[in-house]
Symmetry: D2
Subunit: 353 residues, 4 copies
């Protein structure tokens, strides 16, 4: 009966859990990140070391009303391989003010989000959209998707049963929170497939909580992509990708990092010490000393450190509950404006509570 005692898990986590233990131990430590901006940074660092240029990826950054907007385009296989991310567009909004319970910052991000979503999705006026809230509504930092779904202005049933009541400028929108594998016993992808086959949307927009490798991006970043959803991506498992090919419609994703892996904190602490020591040792002596700790050995140390909780730990700010509420509100405002052109910023603010 131990299986019930296992926590409700995200599809992606279950994927990791299902891996062979030996495979895990033979791995070289590499911090978990779901953000393209972080994958790009890491790829950039590697190319700097290897003296090989990073090709197949374009990267552009600008400030818009106090928000840092980064656009990354992975346009061929080389780029995808270097980044560890699929082909497509990644737009990232970064606004540390999101972490403050600051109404103006959230209003700005919601409006920018609506604009960027419209630019990315390029939906025809009468498109049908299904919003999918991924994650576990009972685990605070994972509840972002379900909380956004609750705030979406759904209209599909109105278009079907009383179309005369829906004005111009509204699209056919529906929304589901399919739950997580540990509670349903069903792969999230299977549930979404089943619903898509009945609802026939022109586009699916998935909303999910992500893991960042940097504390400074937690609850301060929104990532939009047109690349589909890859539960357990980067872990090399055979989980089904949800994208245009498999679902038969466009698939967009909106993600916000709400946690950092405890392993990332541990890794960063180790690196900081090693760098400090290297600085303290004159000449090239440092390398000799710190070599044993690169790669696999560091991974083993991290496993040893976090083993008492089976590495099943997350690092969150103490105010995670308020952050999730605020962010769900902001995402829903942006989505409601992007999906329904007739919804004004004021209406979106009221609808999305």
């Amino acid at each position: 009966m131990n299986q019930k005692s296992a926590p409700p898990q995200r599809a992606s986590e279950a994927a990791v859990a299902g891996q062979d233990k030996e495979t895990l131990l033979s791995r070289v430590w590499s911090p978990r990140t779901d953000l393209a901006v972080e994958a790009h940074e890491l790829a950039h660092q590697r190319t700097a070391v290897d003296k090989t240029p990073l090709s197949g990826v374009t990267h552009q950054r600008q400030m818009v009303e106090g928000v840092e907007v980064t656009r990354i385009h992975v346009h061929n296989r080389d780029g995808a391989k270097a980044m560890g991310k699929p082909l497509g567009h990644y737009v990232t909004l970064f606004s540390p003010a999101m972490r403050r319970h600051d109404p103006e910052a959230h209003t700005d991000v919601a409006r920018l989000l609506a604009e960027e979503l419209q630019g990315l999705m390029k939906l025809p006026k009468n498109a049908r959209v299904l919003v999918v809230g991924l994650g576990n509504s009972h685990v605070t930092p994972d509840a972002l998707g379900p909380k956004v779904v609750e705030r979406i202005f759904v209209t599909r049933h109105l278009f079907e049963s009383m179309p005369q009541t829906v004005g111009d400028g509204y699209r056919v929108v529906s929304a589901v929170a399919p739950g997580v594998l540990g509670i349903t016993g069903i792969e999230t992808g299977e549930i979404i497939h089943g619903i898509v086959e009945h609802v026939h949307p022109d586009a699916v927009v998935a909303v999910d909580a992500l893991a960042s490798r940097s504390l400074s991006r937690v609850n301060a970043t929104v990532q939009l992509t047109d690349t589909g959803i890859q539960p357990g991506s980067g872990v090399g498992n055979k989980r089904k990708v949800l994208d245009a090919l498999t679902l038969g419609c466009k698939v967009f994703a909106i993600g916000v990092p709400t946690v950092v892996d405890a392993a990332t904190i541990a890794n960063d602490a180790m690196d900081l010490v090693l760098r400090q020591l290297a600085d303290a040792v004159p000449g090239n002596g440092a390398n000799a000393v710190f070599d044993p700790l690169s790669g696999q050995e560091k991974w083993l140390l991290i496993q040893e450190l976090l083993e008492p909780m089976e590495n099943n730990l997350m690092v969150t700010p103490k105010e995670v509950d308020q952050f999730i509420e605020d962010t769900a509100d902001t995402l829903a405002r942006g989505l409601n404006m992007a999906l329904h052109p007739s919804v004004t910023a004021e209406e979106a603010a009221a609808l999305s509570k």
Copy 2:
């Protein structure tokens, strides 16, 4: 934008709302009940008045460990018409002790429920079962279904990914809470169809909160049926029935009345006054006086009374929150034992919290 202000509605309620107003006003008042035992009582009263026997229905009652168990079998069309209920079996457990936060009463009901479910479902050892929690998790008296789903011991993912970890005596169980039309914009039936087509269960068990026409049955009754689920049944709409024919597998339902319509209270108050007056008037004079109030006229009075809230009212005990938690616990215990023969009563009690 008013549609959002409309409350999240149950499929069955939306069905009522969608009806033509004139149809509603031409109706003769008839209290809403989802319980076969109440439909049987009403049918019985009518046959007593008409002096015609109630045919096509068998009815049997017994006391089992302080719980009143009623078995009703609707075995032909006459019976179905008289009852206003589809052909099939209805088992009702009635235990007023369920309303007390009394551990023994709940344990007794859970065990009886497991036995009756097993008798009704007659599932083969290796059957695959999908539990569906109907209702809105954000409206307390409607949250019963989703709260049961959270407590179901799901195993389907374990059978798929690590079958060696699942012992004998466990069936392949999955569970979903599809949400309600007002929040998803999708008919609940469509979502269930989509999931069933991917999960291929041998049986679906739907759990739902019901309306009773009697206060004494609220939170004290569990009804089991093998007749499928009819969202908005009795309202004559074209909503799709979910049964063996449409879903391609057996469909069972477990329901507990958690509310009484305010209209039922109003109706009962009116009847009580009328009976009191009839007793006070000597001879046959009463009939003359009270005739104008039968049927349609009473319905109009009830509409007038409840109109300020658009008849969108429910009557619940003040402790509804505690009742729903206790009942969700009890139903989950019964279900976990019925679905997994290896689960003992003690394990069920622990699993179902």
Copy 3:
């Protein structure tokens, strides 16, 4: 152990429960209302019957931006006796639009509430205020007070530990939700007394969910008073009144009706039938017929009707969860503006989520 099975109760309800059963049965039915506007209507009806003028009470009504504002002043003992309410001022805002999830209506009510509160409280610039949220946070229609407390902008700790960070135009505000008797085992009044003796506020503002006798006022009415708080008022028990005399500071109350007693619905249904019948009977015959039902007899009928649930029932709209969230938001916005003159409407909207 049955006491635990008793539901968490409001102080006022526990008071009723504690009464002698015979006293209850000897009562003439009189609908429960916590609203001065309803007490005034009833008093007015009685004086119309008795042909005696209603003295000691002034009553004034006006429309302000679509909101009906009623000001009732009970200025002597005659008025208090006729109304069944203590001396003082009662301001009622009535806006059916509050029941729609309509942002503008809520913004209007919040602003009006702030103005009326300021007019009623007449607080000096540096007054110290304690907000008290009465009610049970686990019973949805009773959770209004605790939900408002969560949204109050408290400053007392800032004034004490880092006064330089608090700008001009902020008062010293603290806020508590003391819980209910059934969960704490302590009279709410005792807890408030204890806290007041340590916090030394110049004014206490209590926020509470009320019972209305009219469905049309539920979730559409806000009542402000300067008369103190009388847990279980009108029930003739010896529960301590919380007012200027007992607490040593001004005591204001803000209340919103969120439920109607099931007994009120039953009573109204009976009256409707009786009136209908009286109209149908020619001449004065009606009185003869319906006399037996006045007063005590009707009360007994109501008891008989609701007995299965021990009269422990409430009637709420099905969307009660959304109403409570919206209303808590609106009350907190009004309070935050009234307590802190520097808080703008925009800041209040953001702070009070």
Copy 4:
């Protein structure tokens, strides 16, 4: 208006925040622990280095039904100074099985907890007890105290209003959750003082979520003490201690570690690397290399690492929500049995849900 954006804080955290920044930076890193067993380990390590015996402290460990029970007695000032903990008794139950959703483990801990509490409290038969649930009910890992309070079987109001209904073997018990400074604006200690002055208990039992310095103890440890409550203890501030002297009655505390500071993880990761390196360096060379990193320098590195979130981070298991529910249940069962000798284990299990 930034103060509102500050998160709701525990009294103890606010104390840290209120400290002078320079004081913080001059500190030598020392991991945060609220557990006497961990303070004892640290003291023991220091005495091993200093070659001075640890005096004034007795320490005894035994296994009871699979649970490790440690009894620490700090019996003089030397011991208190060495431990950084006040004089008194500390009983710790350690059961890793608590982390599994395992009913038997929780039943065992609840029963042991009841026994140890009775042994520690030595309450007379008719003692009056006030249970205080510390912490913020809206921040999952801090909600333990309020969640226990909800499950306590309170009787004080029954003894006052209908003493004949309370059987033998029940004590006069009340329970409050006073909220946290960031939400009330009032020091928790002031609220407790105010309530104690009205309720006049013979003993206060405070329940609180703690921070551990070891992942293996999180959600697997219960600490009981008779030493009073020291909000912000060990941080050297002037916050009022709540103990027999200040409250005028016995003060017990029950605590369970639910988080580890992110700084502790970072520190441990650094130490692990340093130890690894020291092992790799032959002879005494290591000390020379790693000396720069002891003490203050490590503290600065940790600050640098965690600065983006202002060191306001916690590390929790991903299943924190389930752990808190299970543990609140277990603590309430133990408390209800210890406070009311007539409550059996079965009744406690049913009462405490």
